[in-house]
Symmetry: C2
Subunit: 144 residues, 2 copies
């Protein structure tokens, strides 16, 4: 389940970040994104209703949200780095190459593979990235 505006604001407060109007606006802007986004996209979207919010503030807010794990970075998509709203549990992404839609998935156990790799390579593994890309159903129907 994608994080909601309320949940994100609560987390910000919990970590002693002030809830400024600008931050609220950035949060609204990202949670209403259907798919992935970039700092520039959020800025552009915001600019219509809040022409006084600067791109720098978008970068700063996004940085905080990343630190708190409330947004995820995407790698396999067209314009890397791109971002997407986080969820409460560990998950991976399925990304549409055409429209940018991001679908979360869970339930795949990489633990087994991780154990094998650690054993064979001697690595102490602490993280991973797993993303699939392709075309979502609606986009498959669009003729080139």
């Amino acid at each position: 389940m994608k994080l909601t505006e309320k949940k994100i604001n609560t987390e910000l407060k919990r970590h002693n970040y002030k809830l400024t109007n600008q931050r609220r606006a950035v949060v609204v802007s990202i949670v209403t994104c259907q798919s992935q986004f970039t700092p520039a996209l959020i800025y552009e979207k915001l600019h219509r209703e809040h022409p006084d919010i600067g791109l720098v503030t978008v970068y700063r807010t996004l940085g905080i949200l990343m630190d708190l794990g409330l947004v995820c970075e995407l790698h396999a998509s067209g314009d890397c780095p791109a971002y997407t709203v986080g969820t409460s549990q560990h998950h991976h992404h399925l990304i549409c190459n055409r429209c940018g839609r991001v679908v979360d998935f869970t339930g795949h156990r990489l633990a087994e593979l991780e154990k094998r790799l650690a054993k064979e390579s001697g690595f102490r593994i602490d993280s991973h990235v797993l993303e699939f890309t392709g075309l979502c159903l609606p986009c498959q129907k669009i003729k080139c």
Copy 2:
């Protein structure tokens, strides 16, 4: 098995790219990289012996090698995008967070997962990124 200088040069020729001294030098520079690299790093390394080769040429050569699938892009590492020399078969990466070493691995079948995801989401999946990060054996022994 990592691609060799010879293999890369052959591929360049095969695709009608001219084998200039600059390209040869860039190729030598990347195949002798123990770990991952960035355009700037390759340029710096080259600059000692070939002060006349420009950074632009490094970018251009790297671009060609990417197009031909002879180098791979890394995502999970510190400075994304970073690159590593390719291999002849489909594989994934295990990356050391400290020294940047890249170990290839193969043999994990994501096909099953891919099929399940495609079915559940309706996506037509055509690619994926899978990378693990951690500390390699030598780096684990270095005390902070």
